[in-house]
Each structure stands twice: as structure tokens, then as C-alpha cells.
């Protein structure tokens, strides 16, 4: 049972990392690691800021032929 759970946890980790879903958690963890009471963006605001950053510099995340 615990092996199944470990495999699933691992699969979930990779899916979230690869799709970028983990980005928000990482951002919060990063902010809190310096200051536990840091003001953080809401998920909605964070995701907006993330896509809008791509708008400003399209070379980030560019895919080629």
C-alpha cells in the first residue's frame, strides 16, 4: 500500500512540476522561507503576474521548430 502511495505521490510531483502547477507553492515557500509572515500574492494574482511576464518578454519559454 505504501509503495503504491509513494509511486502516486511521485507521479503527482512530476505532473505538477512539469505542468507548472507547482509554481505557486514554490513561490509561497520561497517567500516564507525568508520571512514566515511575508505578504504573498493570492494564487489568482500570482498566476496573472506569471502569464503577464511572458507578455513582456516573449523570449522566455520560447519553443523552436
Amino acid at each position: 500500500m505504501s509503495t503504491v502511495r509513494a509511486v502516486l505521490a511521485r507521479a503527482r510531483f512530476y505532473v505538477r512540476e512539469f505542468s507548472g502547477e507547482a509554481a505557486y507553492d514554490r513561490y509561497v515557500a520561497h517567500a516564507r522561507s525568508h520571512d514566515p509572515d511575508a505578504e504573498v500574492l493570492t494564487r489568482r494574482a500570482f498566476e496573472r503576474a506569471r502569464t503577464d511576464a511572458r507578455e513582456a518578454d516573449p523570449r522566455e519559454g520560447f519553443r523552436c521548430c
Binding site: 512540476e17 512539469f18 502547477e21 511572458r54 519553443r63 523552436c64
Partner: protein
């Protein structure tokens, strides 16, 4: 092939990630076996002539060679040449901000990097190159990736990592000089325009007169917009669930395309090439000025999911179906250089036609962009840079397999322009039979009916051929002949999806560069939120590729065979820039004796590209030389004669204009290469004469605190280090991956 000095005794600065001591007997046995499998594959490919062989041999040759190249050559480059340093902190560790700089699990980063480098390119070039048989293309794909392409990607990634993820253009300016840097910038812009035009042309050729295709691909726009709103408004950031919904809708759109094609709506979705070009240009402009979240970002998720999924399916399909290669190993076109798909002899044109999959300059832009900001350890450049490129090369090998398992007669009927094979199945059958590949008119009609298309003649550009091969493979595994049409349109959708994403993203990058340049004239242009500037620059970029796209469908000589060599030359030009930057950096950092690692591929690449541009500019053969074409048709105009395949005086003028534009561009590319090479050579000579003068803009050494394995699978030594580190900072430190 294995470098004698490369075997694993070297430790030097390597640290964790290198096994120490001499290799165990078990590992020796395994690698001898791998070598034998590869050698057997090549042996069968080399010795079989005139009989059909299984694609299994091609796979064995490729995979065996990749394994040897990765194990020995890439390791040698990492530890001996680059001296990757596991104790040195990467930009991701030093500048970690939790957003764009952050140490990312190596397997996740491998996925990101692979998804960013592999697109439609490796599916197009190898298909076109199949006109010379499967052997020349395969040899170049495999040898090219091991000695040039993967080396370029890995070395660029390494040097950019040492410079906080600086871009190729910036590195060219900093390390070679302002002239080389400016030439590199012009090269990037020019290649972007040609690339976008060629990719759009591939899609137009695949969708013309295909109501099924037009409907399914058209549906991707509302699907993407829905996903965009979902992520923006309904449930921000839930990428996985929305992607699953999106993929389900996408499959529905493919099935529904079949219904539409048989309904009374079919006429509405049956579009001429001219109409499609207009739609593409309008789409390209709107997509690039709309906010990223609305169309680009969701479409990107969709195309990445489809890309990884389909490539995995294809690999399984090829292994399960194990099809036979029907194309000869080497066709007569290889020696004669008069093939209908693209003109010119094997050298240099196979090496131009197959860029992505063997050596692609474009990858240097990714290797010097996002990836270096996320890599945990320098030691991982081998797995990510070299490994991802090997994987792309494998995709190219599958594309060449897909092109070579269909009837050669059908291959040439699909890939030759109407100027050569006419527009009826009878004329096509006749022309293809004259090439030496018999196919009956009935067989051509049946092949089109099998995939529910009105006609497959002159569907140039590679995508339809690849789709035919893929539907052949998949239908033999799942669903039988009845599923052929579905799989064909699935493959078209799969290519169209990321080509449309590239059109959008590429237009944005081109616009960004243009805005930056125009900013020197008028400051407001640099402000990316200044709408008039954005619209103006977008319109120019879209107009530029739209022009070449329009020319491509109107050219009586055939668009793909005129434009594709230009694209290949431009891409290889960018590779020359990247390899020149790498070589200069090796020399400047005192590694002259290892400069051949990127220097030899550079010389090869420059020779190929310059020979190709020389022939394209100066060849007397009207099939090859742009200016010879111009002269011939200009003489025709002067004599008031219409020369085939032109049908009218207008056609004659079109040919003259196109040939002139293409010829001038080719010459421009050649000049750019020479400028970059000369400037790089000047810098190298200076660095060798006076080593003290060489200034490297490398970020100083900082100690790394992250513990992370170098390769895909952690070695016993690395596991021990990971476990020790996990025990040390169990309070939640830098070790982010599940220890395994």
C-alpha cells in the same frame, strides 16, 4: 566512435556524478553489447541493397549509436573539455527567486527542455530528405547529432549557465565582439521570418481542400480560448485538469472533423490555398497582439501535452508494428541532384534539409535562455543538453521511418510540385513512373480515399507524408484500415497545433527584437506595453513571413522546394553562430587543445552552408541556382515566350521576382556567416597570441550547497550523498526531489 581517452577514469573536478575507478566487468559487458547492437544495425543497413528491410535495423543502429555517444563522447566533453564543476553553484541556486530562477528537478527540466527544442522541424526535414533514400538522411541524423547537434546544445547550455543564463546574441556580443554580435542578431531575425513562412506553408499545403483538417484545426482556437478563461478566471493555475479537458475536446474535434467533411457543411470548410494564407496572416497578427493568457499560453499547454503523448505513442507504435522500409536505401536522385522534392545533390543539400534532429541552430536560443536559469548542477548539462537533443534526433529517425514505409510512388506523388507531376492522378502516375517508382492512378485515388481526402497530389511540406506514415503504423496496431483516416487527421492536427503555436510565439519574438531595434530610433518602441508600437511591429513581422508564405503558394516552381533550402541555410547559419561562440569561449578560456570539439562541427557546418549558398547563388543549373532561374525566365520574358511550368506571363514575372529575392537572401546569409566566422577567428587569434588579453564574462565561483545527481538515474554514491543531505536539513532545505 568511442573516444579512447573518454572512459571513466577521469575524476578531476567532477565530484559527485562520476563513478570513480576503472569500469566493472559488468559495465564493460553491457557497453560491448550496446556497441554490437548498434554495429549490427549499421551493418544490415549498409549491406542490404535492393531488398526491403525492417525498420528495426534502423532503430538498432540509431539507439546503439546514441547510447555509445552519450556514455562516452558526452561524458568526455563534460568532464575533460568543459570540466563541469559539481561544487560550483548554478544561477538557479545563486539567484533563486522562486519564479524564473529556481533549481528544478533534472528530470522535470529535461522534459521542459525537450518540449522547448522539439517541434515540427524534426518531422519535416527528414521526410523531405527521404527523396534520396533512407540511408543518407539516417547517417546524417545520427552522426550529426552525436558530433555536432547535441554537442552544440550542451556546450551552449554550459557556457550560458556560467553567465547567468545570458542569451546567444548577448554572448556573441560579449565574447566575440560587436560586429559578430550584430550579425548574430540579424541572423536570428532573418531565420525567424523564413522559419515562420516555411512552417505556415507546411500547414497551408496540408489543409488546402481538406474540410476535415480545416474544421479540426479551426476548433483548436475556441478550445484554447476556453482553456485560457478557465485558467484566468475559473481556476487559476490548474494546468493539468484544464489540459486534460482540452485534449479530450481536441480528440472530439478530430472525430467531428470527419462528420463535418461528410455533411453539407463540407463546402464551407473547403478552402483554397489563397484563402488559407489570408486566414493564417490574420490569425498570426491577432494571436500575437492578444494577451498571452488568452490564446498562446493555453495552446502551448495543449501542444506540449499532444507532443509528448504522440511522440511516446509513435515510439511504441514503431516498435510494435516494426514496419518494413519500402524506399530504397539510396535513390538515383542522391547522385543526380535532380529530385522533385528539393533540387541539388546529396552534398550539401541533405545536410541543409535535415537541420532539426541533427544540428539545429535554433536550439542554441533555448539552451541559452530558460534552461540555464533552472538547472541545479553544472554536471547536468550532459543529461539535459546532450540527452534532450538525442531524444529529438530519435524523433527525426521516426519521421524518416514514417516517410520510408509508405509506397515510394505515393511518396513522390505527395511531395512533388504540380509543375512536375501535373494535377491529375493519371499525369502524376505517369510522372512518378518515369522517376522509376511505379504507382497506378487507382492506387493514388485509393490512398486519398483511405484517409478521406479529395486528393493527396502535391501535398508538399512533409506533414501529409508524415501523417500517412503515422496512420499506416497506428492503424496496423489499433483499429485497422478503418482507423486510417482518423490517425491521418490526428497526425495533421498534432503538427498543425504546434506550428500554429510557433507562428504566434515566433511572431512575438520577432516583434520584440524589432521593437528593441526601433527603440534606437524612437524611444517609445521599446515600451512593450505601448500598443501602437506593438501593432506596428507585429504587422511588419507578420507581413514579412506572410509575403514569403504568399510567394510559396504562388510559385510555379513549387514553394517548398524553393523555400526549404533557404530555411535550412538560415538554421545552419544560426548553428554556425552558436558553434563559433562555443569555440571562441573554449579558446579564450585556455582550452585551445579541445577547441576541435566544437571547431570541427563548426568547420563542417560552415562548409555545408557556404557550399549550399554558393550553389544556390552561382549554380548554372536552373533547378538549383536562383540567379540561373532568374536569367532563364527573364530571357523568356524578353523573348515574349512562356516557359513551363509557368502558364502565363504573370507566372514568368513571379518566378523572376521570387528567384531574385531568394537569391539575394541566400547571399546575405553567406555574408553573415563569413562575418561571424571572421570576427570569431580574430578574437581567437588574439586570445592565443596574448592569453592575458582574453576577458571572460564568467560569473565568479560560488560554492554550491545543493546535492543533486548528474544523470537520469542516481548512482550509489549520489544516493548516499542525497540521503546524507536529506538528514542534514530535514527542516526543508534545497533538496526538493523525492529521494529515490
Amino acid at each position: 566512435m568511442p573516444e579512447p581517452e573518454a572512459t571513466g577514469t577521469q575524476r578531476d573536478t567532477a565530484g559527485p556524478g562520476t563513478s570513480s575507478g576503472s569500469p566493472s566487468p559488468k559495465s564493460v559487458a553491457v557497453w560491448v553489447l550496446v556497441g554490437l547492437v548498434g554495429a549490427l544495425g549499421w551493418g544490415v543497413l549498409a549491406l542490404s541493397r535492393g531488398e526491403e528491410i525492417s525498420a528495426a535495423w534502423l532503430l538498432a543502429a540509431a539507439l546503439g549509436s546514441y547510447a555509445i555517444g552519450y556514455r562516452f563522447y558526452a561524458r568526455f566533453i563534460a568532464h575533460r573539455v568543459l570540466k563541469v564543476d559539481a561544487t560550483r553553484a548554478t544561477p538557479a541556486e545563486r539567484l533563486d527567486n522562486g519564479v524564473d530562477f529556481h533549481p528544478t528537478d533534472r528530470r522535470v527540466l529535461f522534459g521542459h527542455h525537450f518540449a522547448a527544442v522539439a517541434g515540427a522541424g524534426p518531422l519535416v526535414g527528414p521526410v523531405l530528405a527521404a527523396q534520396m533514400g533512407y540511408l543518407p538522411g539516417t547517417i546524417w541524423i545520427v552522426a550529426g547529432v552525436i558530433f555536432a547537434g547535441a554537442v552544440q546544445d550542451m556546450v551552449t547550455l554550459f557556457f550560458s549557465t556560467r553567465r547567468d543564463g545570458r542569451s546567444l546574441g548577448q554572448m556573441a556580443r560579449d565574447e566575440i565582439g560587436p560586429v559578430g554580435g550584430a550579425a548574430a542578431l540579424v541572423a536570428v531575425f532573418a531565420i525567424m521570418i523564413i522559419l515562420l513562412a516555411v512552417l505556415a506553408l507546411v500547414i497551408v499545403n496540408a489543409l488546402a481542400h481538406s474540410p476535415w483538417g480545416v474544421f479540426s484545426i479551426g476548433m483548436t482556437i475556441p478550445i484554447a480560448v476556453f482553456m485560457g478563461f478557465y485558467l484566468r478566471v475559473l481556476r487559476p493555475g490548474r494546468v493539468t485538469e484544464v489540459s486534460l479537458i482540452g485534449v479530450a475536446l481536441l480528440l472530439l474535434a478530430i472525430v467531428a472533423g470527419g462528420w463535418v467533411a461528410e455533411s453539407s457543411l463540407a463546402g464551407t470548410f473547403t478552402l483554397e490555398k489563397e484563402t488559407l494564407v489570408i486566414w493564417m496572416v490574420v490569425y498570426g497578427f491577432l494571436a500575437s497582439v492578444l494577451p498571452v493568457w488568452m490564446l498562446l499560453a493555453p495552446r502551448d499547454y495543449l501542444s506540449t501535452f499532444m507532443k509528448i503523448g504522440t511522440i511516446a505513442l509513435l515510439a511504441i507504435g514503431v516498435v510494435v508494428a516494426m514496419p518494413t522500409l519500402k524506399m530504397p536505401a539510396v535513390t538515383d536522385f542522391a547522385a543526380r541532384g535532380d529530385g522533385p522534392v528539393f533540387a541539388g545533390s546529396m552534398f550539401p543539400f541533405v545536410f541543409i534539409t535535415i537541420a532539426c534532429g541533427a544540428l539545429s541552430g535554433f536550439h542554441a536560443l533555448v539552451s541559452s535562455g530558460t534552461t540555464p536559469k533552472m538547472i541545479q548542477k553544472e554536471t547536468q548539462v550532459r543529461m539535459i543538453g546532450y540527452g534532450a537533443m538525442l531524444t529529438e534526433s530519435f524523433v527525426a529517425v521516426m519521421a524518416i521511418i514514417a516517410a520510408c514505409i509508405i509506397e515510394p510512388g505515393l511518396f513522390f506523388a505527395v511531395n512533388s510540385p504540380p509543375g512536375i507531376i501535373g494535377t491529375t492522378v493519371e499525369s502524376a502516375s505517369q510522372a512518378v513512373t518515369n522517376f522509376g517508382f511505379a504507382i497506378s492512378p487507382e492506387a493514388l485515388t485509393q490512398a486519398a480515399r483511405d484517409v478521406e481526402e479529395a486528393s493527396l497530389l502535391s501535398r508538399t511540406g512533409g506533414a501529409p507524408t508524415f501523417a500517412l506514415g503515422m496512420s499506416e503504423i497506428f492503424s496496423s496496431v489499433v483499429g485497422g484500415a478503418g482507423m486510417k483516416a482518423f490517425w491521418y487527421h490526428f497526425a495533421i492536427m498534432f503538427e498543425a497545433l504546434f506550428i500554429l503555436t510557433t507562428l504566434d510565439a515566433g511572431t512575438r519574438v520577432g516583434r520584440f527584437m524589432l521593437q528593441d531595434t526601433l527603440g534606437n530610433v524612437h524611444k517609445s518602441f521599446r515600451d512593450v506595453s505601448w500598443k501602437p508600437g506593438v501593432w506596428f511591429a507585429s504587422a511588419i513581422v507578420v507581413g514579412a513571413w506572410g509575403y514569403f508564405l504568399w510567394v510559396g503558394i504562388k510559385d510555379p516552381l513549387g514553394g517548398i522546394n524553393q523555400l526549404f533550402p533557404l530555411f535550412g541555410i538560415a538554421n545552419q547559419l544560426l548553428a554556425a553562430v552558436a558553434l563559433a561562440v562555443c569555440t571562441t569561449l573554449l579558446v579564450k578560456s585556455g582550452r585551445l587543445k579541445w577547441a576541435w570539439v566544437t571547431g570541427v562541427p563548426l568547420v563542417w557546418d560552415a562548409t555545408v552552408t557556404l557550399t549550399a549558398s554558393y550553389q544556390k547563388v552561382f549554380s548554372e543549373d536552373v533547378k538549383v541556382g536562383f540567379f540561373a532561374q532568374r536569367d532563364k525566365y527573364q530571357a523568356g520574358i524578353d523573348a515574349d515566350k512562356v516557359l513551363a511550368p509557368a502558364k502565363s506571363m504573370d507566372d514568368m514575372h513571379t518566378i523572376v521576382t521570387n528567384a531574385t529575392v531568394d537569391g539575394v537572401l541566400c547571399a546575405l546569409f553567406a555574408v553573415l556567416i563569413i562575418v561571424v566566422l571572421a570576427d570569431a577567428l580574430r578574437t581567437c587569434v588574439k586570445a592565443v597570441r596574448d592569453p592575458g588579453s582574453a576577458k571572460l564574462s564568467e560569473v565568479p565561483w560560488t560554492e554550491s550547497k545543493i546535492v543533486a545527481p548528474a544523470g537520469l538515474i542516481a548512482t550509489a554514491e549520489e544516493r548516499a550523498q542525497l540521503a546524507a543531505a536529506a538528514g542534514r536539513d530535514s527542516g526543508g532545505g534545497q533538496v526538493k526531489e523525492p529521494v529515490g
